[in-house]
Amino acid sequence: MLPVTTIHYVALSAALLLIGTIGVLTRRNIVIILMSIELMLNAVNINLIAFSHAWHNVNGQVFAIFVITDAVAEAAVGLGILIALFRNKETVQADEIDLLKW
């Protein structure tokens, strides 16, 4: 069995980040966009923890805890906004919410 090394963690992290990014950029449903953002945040967490393990530095793990906390807060605010948005526009499709153009 091939030992799990740092490079694997990084590859997994990159893959997750890529998937999350593509999800954010391509999906129209805001719920899914939020889920993709969650994916990207967790890719970052994996990266932080992998290097914390490799270098024996606990800072990375601490930072990952912060990121998780942040992700929770972000999900709560994001979903709140989403509900408010849905009440006003009766939609959760990102491309139908285009008030920000010139």
Partner: protein
């Protein structure tokens, strides 16, 4: 009592009467509820005065008697003061008394026509000399008699106080006119009498014809006044003064600054004469006088026969020094006078309205006066003015008495055989008619014969002028006796309804008639012909009295006495012929006039319609010049004036349009082009702003990758 120092009081008495009447008259003589309520009764009486019709409407109050005393009384006091002043004037060596009350128009320097500096100053001053003394005696004397007569004639009329207020005001202005010592003050009186004339002609203001006649008189007089004012201004410009004594002195001495020659003086004289033709009803401005008969008859007697209409004669006589210097003007005066005399006489031949005959007779007699003025016989003109005042006032008042008796009827075709009914009126009018016809012994003969003789013999006269005068004399005798015969003799043609009311006028009306009849007999004896030397110098008092004013006694006539005798006999014969012809035609054979009328129908029609002068004036001036000119003016207004305004408006609008175009396309264009070009340039950048959040996120990612790629590739 020194009356000469008090001459300023003479006009003030009637003025006081007028002010009193016009301010408080309503209290003294309460009116019936409405003046106008009388109007229907008035109109039934035709064109005439309505004294009889108003009987039922107006019961004079006791206070009215106060008016009866005050108004004639004021004129009487004035008359006494005048007589006193004239009496004292006669005892002065120079027989001129001039007094300056106060400066009316202060000294105003101005440049005369020749560039010299002169001062224009008008004093409120009075000049009493033989000429004005004759005038004030006539005005106050005859005026007083007519006032007395009016108290009877107007007794039952509405507006009693108004009538006497105006009448007194008239006397005031007339006295101002004749007593003034300069032309400007004379003009005040001149306009004032015109105003009173207007007010009194339109006295029955609820009758349209009376109102129209008043307006006509006023307007025609203004036409003449234009000439007078222009003449006065020319005099001021050439001679630098308007004071009679200064003007006459300058003209007589020949030392006046006139570089332009005597043509200027001729123009001045003719302009003033034009003013006189307006006031004294001469051709071409006589048309107002016959219409003025719409006023009450005493007004016709006082204003339109005895006094006001002679103002022009007085004014020309006053300017005798000027007219002496200008033979051309004198020729015009004589010509117009002679023409007016015969012209008006022809009209008087066929009129049926008793007052209208007298009106044209007045115009004709005024023509005589101007004939005399024109040939340089100034004292004769004033003499005729003097005698005419008596007999014409008498005839008018007599006709008023007839109208009073007839209850307002003025048409002579409905009179006849009134001699027995109203004997006093008849006999006094008989005297007046004999006097005007020119039968020796009565006033008219002396003055008229002197005019004819002067027209024949004076250096400026001619046989033609004399012949015109003679024919006019024949016509005068004829129409006056036509009037007498149609009114007093022959068959009665009085309407039965009127006949029962026929009555002689009250004493207050007959006594003035008798007094004037006495005047008509006696007045002429002041100026008997020179040939009648057996009477002595006393009977030539009039020319001697006036001599200082006119500087008489120049060239004696070279005609032999036999010529004068024969001319005199001829004129008497022709007058007698006129009288007997009228008697024969209208009393003996009343059928003949109708046959003559049928024979000469066109001529009769022309004469009856007064030569259509009124119609011609209507066509030329009223409709032609005023209305036609008015429409031409309106056309001018519409096309030129309005065109100018419209053009200006169009121009403004046009320039505004141009300005707007400039604003829109150039100013706004620059601004909009700037913004457009910015917009055009910024358009590609705008395309990035799609509003979709994910596209923005894509740019972030792409940018991130670009940086990343850059650092990796380095």
């Amino acid at each position: 009592m020194n009356f000469l120092d008090l001459i300023w009081l003479i006009p003030l008495f009637p003025l006081a009467g007028a002010v009193l009447m016009l301010l408080t008259g309503k209290l003294l003589d309460p009116q019936p509820p409405s003046d106008v309520a009388v109007a229907p009764g008035v109109e039934l009486g035709g064109a005439g005065d309505p004294p009889a019709q108003s009987h039922a409407h107006h019961h004079p109050g006791a206070l009215q008697n106060l008016i009866r005393v005050i108004c004639p009384g004021m004129v009487l006091v004035s008359c006494i003061f005048s007589a006193g002043a004239v009496w004292q004037l006669a005892h002065l060596t120079k027989r001129v008394y001039e007094v300056r009350q106060f400066t009316w128009i202060g000294a105003m320097p101005f440049h005369m026509a020749n560039g010299h500096l002169a001062t224009f100053q008008v004093d409120w001053g009075f000049l009493l000399d033989p000429l004005s003394s004759v005038m004030i005696l006539v005005v106050t004397g005859v005026g007083f008699l007519i006032h007395v007569y009016s108290t009877g004639y107007m007794a039952h009329d509405n507006g009693f106080y108004r009538f006497f207020g105006y009448l007194n005001l008239f006397v005031f202005f007339m006295l101002m006119l004749v007593l003034a010592n300069n032309y400007t003050l004379l003009f005040v009186g001149w306009e004032g009498v015109g105003l009173c004339s207007y007010l009194l002609i339109g006295f029955y203001y609820h009758k349209k014809s009376a109102g129209d006649a008043g307006k006509k008189a006023f307007i025609v007089n203004r036409v003449g006044d234009t000439g007078f004012v222009l003449g006065m201004l020319l005099m001021l410009s050439v001679l630098g003064t308007v004071r009679f004594t200064d003007v006459n002195a300058a003209l007589r001495s020949g030392q006046f600054p006139v570089e332009a020659g005597y043509g200027v003086l001729t123009a001045m004289a003719l302009l003033m004469f034009f003013g006189a033709t307006g006031k004294s009803a001469q051709f071409p401005l006589y048309v107002w006088l016959p219409d003025a008969m719409e006023g009450p008859t005493p007004v016709s007697a006082l204003i339109h026969a005895a006094t006001m209409v002679t103002a022009g004669v007085y004014m020309v006589a006053r300017s005798s020094a000027l007219f002496q210097l200008t033979p051309v003007a004198g020729m015009w005066v004589a010509g117009i006078g002679a023409f007016t005399a015969i012209f008006a006489a022809t009209i008087a031949l066929v009129q049926n309205d008793i007052k209208r005959v007298l009106a044209y007779s007045t115009v004709s007699q005024l023509g005589y006066m101007f004939l005399a003025l024109g040939v340089g016989a100034y004292w004769v003109a004033i003499f005729h003015l003097f005698t005419h005042a008596f007999f014409k006032a008498l005839l008018f008042l007599g006709s008023g008495s007839v109208i009073h008796a007839m209850g307002g009827e003025q048409d002579m075709r409905y009179m006849g055989a009134l001699k027995k009914k109203i004997p006093i009126t008849h006999w006094t009018m008989w005297v007046g008619s004999v006097a005007i016809a020119g039968i020796p012994g009565l006033a008219g003969f002396f003055s008229k014969d002197e005019i004819l003789w002067q027209a024949f013999s004076s250096p400026k006269g001619s046989t033609a002028l004399w012949a015109v005068g003679l024919v006019t004399a024949a016509m005068t005798a004829f129409y006056m006796w036509r009037l007498m015969n149609m009114t007093f003799y022959g068959q009665s043609r009085v309407k039965p309804a009127v006949a029962v009311h026929l009555h002689e006028s009250p004493a207050v009306m007959t006594w003035p008639l008798i007094a004037l009849a006495a005047g008509s007999v006696l007045a002429g004896w002041l100026g008997v012909p020179k040939l009648w030397s057996i009477f002595g110098e006393g009977f030539r008092a009039f020319p001697r009295w006036l001599a200082p004013v006119f500087l008489l006694g120049g060239a004696e006539s070279e005609h032999p006495a036999s010529t004068e005798w024969s001319l005199m006999i001829l004129s008497v014969a022709i007058a007698a012929g006129g009288i007997s012809l009228a008697y024969y035609l209208y009393s003996k054979r009343p059928d003949i006039p109708d046959r003559i009328l049928a024979r000469f129908r066109p001529l009769y029609t022309v004469l009856y319609n007064k030569w259509y002068v009124d119609e011609i004036y209507d066509f030329l001036f009223v409709n032609g010049l005023c209305k036609g000119g008015g429409s031409a003016m309106a056309e001018f207004d519409r096309t030129v004036v309005d065109g100018g305004v419209n053009g200006a408006g169009w121009l403004t609008r046009f320039s505004a349009t141009v300005s707007m175009w400039w604003d829109t396309w150039i100013v706004d264009g620059a601004v909009r082009f700037t913004s457009f070009s910015v917009k055009l340039l910024s358009y590609p950048a705008c395309l990035l702003e799609s509003g979709r959040v994910q596209s923005y996120a894509l740019f972030v990612v792409v940018g991130l990758l670009a940086f990343l790629g850059y650092y990796i590739a380095r």
